[in-house]
Amino acid sequence: MTWADAFRLVGRELRRRAGRSALTVAAVALAAALLTALVTIAQTAQTRVLSEVTTGGSLAGIKVAAAAPDPTQIDRDNATPGPPKPLDDSALRRVRSLPNVDSVYPVVSVPVVVLAPPRIAVPGTPANAVGSGVPGLGPDEPYGDSLVGVSVDQAARLPITLLAGRLPTSTNEIAVTPDFLDRLHIPQKQAATVLGVTLEFGFPRGFRRGSSRSMWLHPVIVGVAAQDAGTGQLIGTLGLAETGRDWILAGGAASAASFGLQPTTYTGLFVIANRLDKVATLRNRITAVGYSTSAPEQLIASVQRYLRVVEIVLAGIGLIALVVAALGIANALFAAVRERRREIGVLKAIGARDRDVLRIFLIEALAVGAVGGVIGVALGAAVAASVGLAVNRYLASQGIAPLHLAISLVVLGGAVVGAALLAGLAGLVPAARAARLPAREAVESG
């Protein structure tokens, strides 16, 4: 008997016992759904937690400072930089050419003087409230801070997490960080209230005789984003930051240094390793080039270990469900063998070998497992997506960036193959029992 003949026979038999087949498939589907949903949710949670650890951006990201490495800090996640060291285009090219580098993004942080923003109406606060510390009002006095300029079109790969609005796309636009909101006493979940507000800030520059002047700008706040690319409450385009840098440095290195800016093309680089497990290697290579680096590799490793345990526990629950479903398959097949003793005898009487009968029952088990697995995987992905939607709704209400469901093809494929294999395994004993039934069953009465 060929495989095709056996498949045809099994298909007909499953249709004949449609009710029982459907129940058995449903048991496998539910178990596979549970496994898929739990693992997907666990993996999503892992991605999310790791993203939080790294404040967005790539997990394999390394921050390079415009400073020489401090030998005592090399292995630390948040290494304190050594003495300042200019980071120019040639340094950028050298880093970019290192092995295991996926991409390199320049960062320019420049000092700014921020004027008190205008009143911002915050829902739920008195409209006529005055004075510092009252929600809905800006600081009374100008203050010094920094603007972090990045390639905003590559923000998804940088340690930047958008919380509201969007990132700036021109020199007339700017984004602010949650620290800026704190300064204005605006709750993070009401971050959207600052969108559209015009902010006034300037790049300071020293002149002769100790005087200073600023280049004043009036960009519109278009977004709120958490960022770890540099230090500063304002986020702008790389071009805006470079304009500010050139203006400040034109006043002389000593003057720029007095405002906190060293003479360097870039104040930092964000380097992404091509693999998470190559972060340490790449860090060492960049250190060898002569720059201070930091990466949350040890923190990520610790979190990964804890999350792996969670994932194993959740997968274990799903697997137990699959094993229970497999026992259901075995039970259904045992019942089928009991009911079909005469039919098996007839098959043998007309020439079926033991292995033909074994094949028929194994295919039946595998088919139930595979169909249940496919349905279960679809169901599990849908459940995970629904949970994701509910979680995102909650996160949005809390002013936190949404999570992206980590539906892994490996998990989906693994669940289908695993369900089929487990079902096949469960079907082995009843199939072997069917194969061993004597041909004489064909002529037994009853």
């Binding site: 008997m1 060929t2 003949d5 026979l9 007909r12 038999e13 249709r15 004949r16 005469r342 039919e343 005898g345 007839v346 098959l347 043998k348 009487a349 007309i350 020439g351 079926a352 070998r353 033991d354 033909d356 004597p438 041909a439 004489r440 064909a442 002529v443």
Partner: protein
């Protein structure tokens, strides 16, 4: 074939003994049965319930292993064959017709016939054509795509006969083939079966309680308590 002519028997049974283990001890089912049947012969196997008819049929058809004695079918000693060879023997040398028809309920009449051919390794196109021919030869050309439950008892048994003939067997074993049929259908089925030795040259062994059927057989073996009680047509000497 005339008397005195030496012909290889289709069935050669010598001192066949068979017993089953039961919770109440051993049950002797066949106790020293010996007989020969010539090729193309027609044998009726009769006897009361529990006489050992079905066991004898099972042993002749390779459904069960020979415990003691000698059973040779179409030159094959059934005592010394492997399980795989026995399966091939059942597929290619023997055709079974059961009282309960033994049709797979999920397969059409044509597919039931094809199944026997598929188990013998016959290709799809060949077996489609063969099943059509066979069902046509038993008068079921218009019932090819009918499922067993859509057929009458007589039609089902004719499908079973077509399936039994699918691999051109040398021996057809029928276990009370008319037991579940009305009189008219039974007569048609018996007529069809009885025509097989002449039309196809097969040896036919029919287990029956029907005296009229048994009387028409060339040889009538009467079993009682595992022993051959009567042999109405004396066996000829073949060896």
């Amino acid at each position: 074939m005339g008397h005195g002519e030496e012909v290889s028997p289709s069935l050669l049974v010598r001192d066949l003994r068979h017993r089953y283990r039961t919770p109440r001890g051993e049950l002797v089912v066949l106790d020293g049965v010996s007989f020969d049947v010539p090729a193309g012969g027609y044998v009726a196997l009769t006897g009361p319930s529990g006489a050992g008819k079905t066991t004898l049929l099972s042993l002749l058809g390779g459904l069960e292993r020979v415990q003691s004695g000698h059973v040779e079918v179409e030159g094959t000693d059934l005592a010394g064959v492997s399980a795989t060879e026995l399966a091939r023997f059942r597929s290619q040398t023997v055709g079974f017709v059961f009282q309960h028809f033994g049709l797979l309920q999920t397969l059409t009449a044509a597919e039931n016939v094809e199944l026997a051919l598929a188990l013998a390794g016959v290709g799809l196109k060949t077996r489609r054509a063969a099943s059509r021919d066979l069902l046509g030869s038993v008068g079921l050309a218009g019932r090819l795509e009918h499922l067993p439950h859509q057929l009458s008892g007589g039609e089902r048994q004719r499908v079973a006969i077509a399936r039994a003939l699918a691999n051109s067997p040398r021996l057809v074993l029928a276990d009370e083939p008319t037991g579940n049929l009305d009189e008219e259908s039974a007569a048609n089925v018996i007529t069809l079966l009885e025509s097989l030795p002449a039309t196809r040259g097969v040896t036919l062994v029919v287990v029956t309680h029907n005296h009229a059927v048994a009387d028409r057989a060339a040889t009538r073996l009467a079993l009682r308590a595992g022993r051959l009680e009567g042999l109405l047509t004396p066996p000829r000497s073949y060896l």
